[in-house]
Symmetry: D2
Subunit: 341 residues, 4 copies
Amino acid sequence: MMIMMAPEASPEQIRQVVARLEATGTVHPKVVPGASQIAVAAIGDAAAVRGLGLQALDGVDQVVPLSRPYKLASSELSHHAPSVFDIAGRRIGPDTFCIVAGPCTVESREQTLRVAEAVAPHAGMLRGGAFKPRTSPFSFKGLGRPALEILAEARERTGLPVVTELTDLQQADAVAEVADVIQIGARNMQNYALLEVAGKLGRPVLLKRGLSSTLEELLMAADYVLKEGTDEVVLCERGIRTFETATRFTLDLGAIPWLKLHTHLPVIVDPSHAAGDRRLVEALARGAAAVGADGIIVEVHDEPEQAMCDGPQQLRTRDFPRFATEVLAHAALVGRRPSTG
Amino acid sequence: MMIMMAPEASPEQIRQVVARLEATGTVHPKVVPGASQIAVAAIGDAAAVRGLGLQALDGVDQVVPLSRPYKLASSELSHHAPSVFDIAGRRIGPDTFCIVAGPCTVESREQTLRVAEAVAPHAGMLRGGAFKPRTSPFSFKGLGRPALEILAEARERTGLPVVTELTDLQQADAVAEVADVIQIGARNMQNYALLEVAGKLGRPVLLKRGLSSTLEELLMAADYVLKEGTDEVVLCERGIRTFETATRFTLDLGAIPWLKLHTHLPVIVDPSHAAGDRRLVEALARGAAAVGADGIIVEVHDEPEQAMCDGPQQLRTRDFPRFATEVLAHAALVGRRPSTG
Amino acid sequence: MMIMMAPEASPEQIRQVVARLEATGTVHPKVVPGASQIAVAAIGDAAAVRGLGLQALDGVDQVVPLSRPYKLASSELSHHAPSVFDIAGRRIGPDTFCIVAGPCTVESREQTLRVAEAVAPHAGMLRGGAFKPRTSPFSFKGLGRPALEILAEARERTGLPVVTELTDLQQADAVAEVADVIQIGARNMQNYALLEVAGKLGRPVLLKRGLSSTLEELLMAADYVLKEGTDEVVLCERGIRTFETATRFTLDLGAIPWLKLHTHLPVIVDPSHAAGDRRLVEALARGAAAVGADGIIVEVHDEPEQAMCDGPQQLRTRDFPRFATEVLAHAALVGRRPSTG
Amino acid sequence: MMIMMAPEASPEQIRQVVARLEATGTVHPKVVPGASQIAVAAIGDAAAVRGLGLQALDGVDQVVPLSRPYKLASSELSHHAPSVFDIAGRRIGPDTFCIVAGPCTVESREQTLRVAEAVAPHAGMLRGGAFKPRTSPFSFKGLGRPALEILAEARERTGLPVVTELTDLQQADAVAEVADVIQIGARNMQNYALLEVAGKLGRPVLLKRGLSSTLEELLMAADYVLKEGTDEVVLCERGIRTFETATRFTLDLGAIPWLKLHTHLPVIVDPSHAAGDRRLVEALARGAAAVGADGIIVEVHDEPEQAMCDGPQQLRTRDFPRFATEVLAHAALVGRRPSTG
């Protein structure tokens, strides 16, 4: 339920409403500022909310239902305005386009610094995996904590904020110490214990859609993070699993305009994992800009043939400037400027 | 197998090769002109071709295998150059972007003429269903033959070539008489009897991908049409069936760059059926242009609320000019001019 | 809508109702006998039916809606009783289990007769393809009409009724002359022109589920056949296309109990095409019997290694007797006796 | 790689091989006893294994590759014999059929004890959720630790071993204290941190297939658990996500015979979650027995209409005896006796 406060409601009246909701023990209240009036979202036990008779309280305008299965991520909650985040000086929102670029995996200090410096002029953030979730336990799983230090050094040199994945809640503090944005990977999209920990770290979270998760499930997963206190969740479409095997996954670009109608959260696109083939990545990145994404996250390597992971899909550093220019041209057509520092 | 003729091979030498292949009874030969040399594709029984010892013939340079399961549609067959078609004065190929627009179904003379005139300044062709395949036999199935006459009249008034669907080989002649392009719908992509008839009508064919057909299967379906003599087959991605139900189908825009690597045939995109919701169509159409499609096919209606079929996904005629302008801007960025008359 | 006639309604009163429905021009009436009262199903334009005011007519008990998107196939139409068919002396229905067996393709007279004689003691019907739909136009497509004669000879020798596929309406009469049951393959499940022709041939129809057709779509496809006059449509689950490639298709055995709740038509299972691997076929056939299917259709070959089509999935004739015995034991547990001659 | 020891190899020679493999730092060695000879599986860096020249050591017969992407779960590793586990007196393996039954969620002491007592005569184990992973964070998530005490009491009263889910590694010790079998749910199948913790708890693990995980991925997930020391992993097919929505998920019964060919681990089936509808559960449970599963896990409630979770799919306690009898009859036909205490 949404308790719409009257435009003239006092802070004390709002506190009253929140207090009554909290007293139920089964409702999660959240104050939502709007252009002309403040609302209090009351999420959880709707019967308990109705039982409180809040519409009779001073300062309450009306009580309306939240109609969707996702609540905190819903555009209903934001009065249908898109959220804008400032992340370490990079703006993510409807007027900008943010290119997150970097190697799939931090393989060495030299490789990471080389790639970071190559992408820095055009990218908005640096990506790089320290802990890699792998299908087989006998595959290379990343350098771990030493990789975090390398990413911190790359940030210092280039000024690029760092996006890196958290796979295990036992590493949460170590990752949060370095990361500007904490990535939750597709395989962990419904690892609810991890989502709740990620929501408590005080960092923005990049939440990737699961391989076969519906968009409603993605938004409910975002609710897990948002209810822990973080306001800044960025969604990421990265391809879904279908019968088609010509591409590694089927990139669902139709998800972007759908999400724009249903959530206030920004959405970026990962064309690298979906394509699984470097030759398709640029076309998909242009498509992502054209359908209205708020950015992309792409893998770049200086020697993809030598990469320890996902070599065939990583762009070459020497191709990156032209790549970025072309993608940003499509973003400009839909009113977005580059989200660089 | 491909028999690559020497650059200096004579027409008689080429005829010899073709004659030997035909004499096997199990091989389908096709002469393929190239920039510097002519090839003869020998499709079917590879063992029979090898048995002919063609590499010993005068004028034959070498015999190389066609490595893919699709043959006539393969980019291997075109020496990796994209095909360009001129269809009733409209160019379909790598330098142009063709917007095929019109109502889902021809509902009446007035509605069809109104829509045709509204789209004419920006569209390359007119679409409109006379025979509609419907999931239930008790749904409206189109006006049938009278609709063909209405489409012919709309063409006369606007100059737009007509694209309309063939659903039943018993209507093949009637449809071919009016249509400039014969559409084969998604549900008939593997209706091989219909494909073979369509290939014999002397008209270009627009072949839509089946709801759950792989891209390889789409190209093999194109082979069915191409082997009957038609050279002009245009492919159409229109969304595939996946677990996701937020959109009606999942538009597979990654299919476009993949097809560009693997076939010489043009590819257009149908954003209307994939989205099932007007509010998503423009974003997907822009995305189609950005990923490198050769055009789009969209449904437009003057009163979508009154449409007999698929109302919610049809664009409004009053929104069409702005829609077309925005989509063509993205096409221009990738080097394509409008394919108008 | 269903017009439920009073138990004492006269034939003339029923004719009256049918005549009024027909006079609308937009309604398809069908008389449905029941245990205690007769109903007239009025399919199509529900508004027109309501406009007739039939509940005021003598002999009419009440007018109730048909709530499902499929009509003639719905269990609502049969007063929730399963249909039982007698096909050339074989019973298909809730008390029997029919094993349809034979080669994928009729390759030669000798092979077909050998297989037919091997399966005759345990099978209820003989399957064999004369016309094979193939993904590539350059693959072997069956012997065509000569194969029909071979099947007729095999029937004469063994007494087994013949099931064979119709792929092209131009062959409808030739196939109907030989076939006891006309099969419509998965790729043609939504080839509506073919369904309508099949429904007019006066033969039972075996309708296979499309690779990615929902169960509701399967029942609406059955409606296409049923509305042409044939009452005997047998459905066939043969595996659907999913992300999993370990098996060729994913056999949806859950479809069987769902169909039993929603349609009166019999349902059989094709474990051969779903598995694509002989080693899995017996387990799936046992599973089909246990979930309540009315039969199975399996491919059997005397030398699968030499088969022209689908060799790896065809059972060996020498394994067939044991196979049939094991499957029939599971069928017996759910109250079904073998449907043999 | 597999190092096959000679039949006469001494324990010291085997220790030598293991020591050399461990010394590489990149290989995981595992001793695998067989009927006539012992093998040492060397999993991980194959190049390092080849570099050791083990075939020259005394006691080594030969070095052969492990050809599949999953290693410890592979039937290659078990010399193609199925594993048999004794879990708290219940036998899981090729000669038995184990029915795991109980409520979806532990809702109260009374409800749990009532259900446990009702299923005890026919079931092999008791299931019940203490911690429930829920798609929305605002849904009921189980009673938590108090539920574990209730399950322990139910075990004491009925003698049924307890299966319960671990969703968060922070609860690992609490769950392991009570559970006889630790369940990993479908959404956590690729939560690798959780798999590794589960593998260290000294308890058998029931690993459910992810909603859209391939069978190869399921076996690689099992490798994550097995490499931590647990030998007893039971797999569970519970339905995959496909385009079909008539049933909640598509139960992939073809997975069972495929898994029997490729892994030595037992496999059970969850028909309740796949069906999502009580009326389909019995048919699917019979099917599971007939295709060769080692058991089933089903949800049973005394008042499903009042259930806090998944009511429509829970069997009624009063129907359970007949249900179990029918399912066990199909299991008996394939040579399996009930796995009761």
